[in-house]
């Protein structure tokens, strides 16, 4: 059955087929998960900025009043700002690292393939 399937398959030396393979190989494809990663990365940055802004606002709230109740509110707001910043920072770190590691892995695989090709080339060229 396997042999018959193999026989049914072409030889792969048809120019149109080769052209098709090359064109599919050159296609720029966007992985849907990458788009989601990018959105979460942006959300992380936004939360980081919002957190810092909340803390600054809380400082001015507390500074502009002598009312202990308002100062208590400002303290809570500042703490919430710190929490939002930490959450945003974590998201940013998580997804920027993922992007970096993806590139690093692709680079590593490319280097390894290039190295293998070099070794095979040298081995083939070496006198026997």
């Amino acid at each position: 059955m396997i042999e018959s399937m193999t026989q049914a398959a072409g030889t792969g030396d048809m120019p149109r087929v080769e052209e098709f393979k090359a064109e599919i190989g050159e296609m720029r494809l966007r992985d849907p998960s990458t788009a989601r990663d990018r959105q979460l990365l942006r959300l992380g940055v936004a939360l980081l900025v919002v957190g810092v802004a909340l803390t600054v606002i809380a400082y001015f709230m507390s500074h502009g009043t002598t009312n202990p109740l308002s100062q208590g509110d400002a303290t809570i707001l500042a703490l919430a700002g710190v929490a939002v910043s930490v959450a945003g920072g974590t998201l940013f770190l998580r997804y920027s690292l993922a992007t970096f590691l993806r590139f690093w892995l692709a680079r590593l695989i490319y280097e390894q393939q290039a190295q293998t090709d070099r070794i095979v080339g040298q081995t083939d060229a070496a006198p026997r």
Partner: protein
């Protein structure tokens, strides 16, 4: 052994031009494809057979990028293309001729062909090739496509598909609504196209029509490929596969 497993062995010879691995797809949360494995090697005609509602058309739509797969991998020329735009795939040579012909009924035959000149070929080349393959379309070239007979409309749909110079041609129910003699002629043409090196994935509800043309066949039932093999080898088991026996 499944078709996918066989393809792994086939890979050593050449990469299949189209491969579906454990494809799942749904319409509004209702699962239609439940793990479809299918391989279309180079210069091969693969027939997907099965009863109405088995998921054959959805399989083609997923392969062409017209319907999203909720799981699994779509590999074209060995590359995973899940999420690729259907027009990008079509421009590169993955051509789907849909059920119901996919022509412009209010345009003439010539204008329908003209619409395909955005791809690789000029209108003059398309016309030359089309009229050589379908002499009847030459006689009808000024006629509105909607006024052609069913067979002529299907010829026009095929001609439009072939005008894109496809590497993989997917045909959905070519025989639908046509007289048996017309269907026979069309499938002879499909066989001649396959001989030119085009890989063909053909979906048919009426299995016997494609038996002489296909090199390989897969039977789909309830969203899964349940049987694969040479068409002639499957002939005896088809009835029980269709009826779920």
């Amino acid at each position: 052994m499944t078709l996918a497993a066989e393809a792994t062995t086939t890979d050593r010879v050449s990469t299949p031009l189209l491969e579906l691995r454990d494809i799942r797809a749904a319409y509004d949360g209702i699962n239609v494809l439940r793990g479809v494995d299918l391989v279309v090697p180079e210069a091969t005609v693969v027939a997907v057979l099965g009863p109405n509602g088995a998921g054959k058309t959805t399989t083609l739509k997923v392969a062409a990028g017209l319907h999203p797969a909720s799981g699994g991998d779509i590999l074209v020329a060995g590359r995973r293309v899940n999420g690729a735009r259907p027009d990008e795939l079509a421009r590169r040579g993955l051509c789907l001729i849909p059920e119901g012909r996919g022509i412009f009924p209010n345009l003439t035959v010539r204008e329908n062909l003209w619409m395909m000149s955005h791809c690789r070929r000029q209108l003059a080349d398309i016309e030359e090739l089309t009229y050589a393959r379908f002499p009847r379309l030459r006689q009808r070239h000024t006629q509105l496509a909607g006024t052609l007979s069913g067979g002529e409309q299907q010829m026009l749909a095929l001609a439009r598909g072939l005008a894109t110079d496809p590497a993989v041609l997917m045909l959905d129910e070519l025989s639908m609504g046509l007289a048996p003699i017309v269907v026979e002629d069309l499938y002879q043409l499909v066989a001649s196209v396959a001989k030119e090196g085009v890989s063909i994935l053909v979906v048919e509800q009426f299995a016997r029509i494609v038996m002489d043309v296909a090199d390989w066949a897969a039977v789909m039932v309830q969203g899964r490929v349940t049987l694969t093999g040479r068409p002639r080898d499957l002939e005896d088991t088809l009835s029980s596969a269709y009826l779920g026996g």
